[in-house]
Symmetry: none
Subunit: 206 residues, 2 copies
């Protein structure tokens, strides 16, 4: 999970886990059923009483009855061990999306373009691209809503923080241009930062 860019906390018993959940702002829980002390099902039950954090059970007990009771306690998903790393990763991503958690992973990937939000760095085809702060911010905003069309008003607000500014429209325009010059193979025929006339720009998924 850490490799995927998630910020991970672990605990080795139900009680410890519950404490962790109480004291932190948790987006998703991977829960084993076999636990010392309170078992996973019970932990899930207790969590679901107060919070609505998505829970994925992760267990080697692959008896059907376990899956069933796991889902019945309100878990969002259940994955049997041994599991494939990518499958887990995908199911987690899906759940986070559904729960509208702005999955603040450390990176946004789209084709050859990779935005490392943790380090504020952008790579094109594994080569680091030097962006100025404004350029970077603009790209990040686009990246956070991958494939969504964002109007210049939104971009101005998100990237600059200004609500209104007469030069704002031009500012966005010019900086989109600057970004394209640095990112796009051919700035005049953009592949990444696409424009939807009359609506805005979007960072395409490729």
């Amino acid at each position: 999970m850490r490799d995927d860019g998630y910020n991970v906390m672990t605990s080795s018993s139900g009680e410890e886990g519950l404490l962790l959940i109480k004291e932190n702002d948790i987006d998703l829980i991977l829960l084993d059923i076999n636990l010392p002390g309170i078992d996973g099902l019970e932990v899930c039950n207790r969590i679901k009483i107060t919070k609505h954090i998505p829970v994925i059970f992760l267990s080697c007990r692959d008896q059907d009855s376990d899956v069933i009771s796991g889902l019945e306690t309100g878990a969002e998903d259940y994955i049997r061990k041994p599991f494939n790393h990518r499958e887990l990763s995908l199911r987690v991503k899906k759940l986070l999306n559904r729960y509208q958690v702005q999955s603040d992973l450390g990176a946004i990937e789209t084709g050859f373009l990779s935005i490392r939000t943790d380090r504020e760095e952008v790579y094109f085809n594994s080569n680091k691209v030097m962006l100025t702060p404004v350029e970077y911010k603009l790209l990040e905003v686009l990246g956070e809503k991958l494939n969504w069309v964002l109007s210049w008003e939104v971009l101005l607000k998100e990237a600059w923080g200004y609500e209104e500014w007469d030069g704002g429209r031009e500012m966005v325009k010019v900086n989109i241009r600057r970004l394209r010059k640095k990112i796009e193979p051919n700035p005049s025929q953009p592949v990444y930062i696409l424009t939807e006339r009359g609506r805005g720009y979007k960072l395409a998924i490729i």
Copy 2:
């Protein structure tokens, strides 16, 4: 599934399934990957372009890679055969609950025409139709009152925001025309945007 009280329709090929989906109001799809003709993944892809019906893959191919590609095409869940009846039942229930909440906020469907209000996109027969902002707005207004006849005054008010405007009547007329040119198979014999002489226009349900 029938025992659980669901209303079930089945089909034994991808094409047949897609047709079924097109012509009916489906809440959830259980999809096998191994299908004669188009395979399940492809079926899922096509569904996801226009509709947002939850899809659960159900397959005996329990290779991890299958699960992964299944989830990647946008399926909501994946269950490996042989599966336990209760597990399936629970996962279905869970998905339906989740989708009930936010379903159909984002789309207006009428036959082959689908208006994605969340993204301001229109699809005709799974192909994206490029509309200008005004055209889109006009269509959306019509779509919000599916099958209602809306006068040009109403359309003007709703789509443009103007109360009175001497050119308004012409404006509506011309833009209806423009819309038809883009949406209707035969713009001169409209099937979707129908006119009720003296009253206005309506977006037909088909």
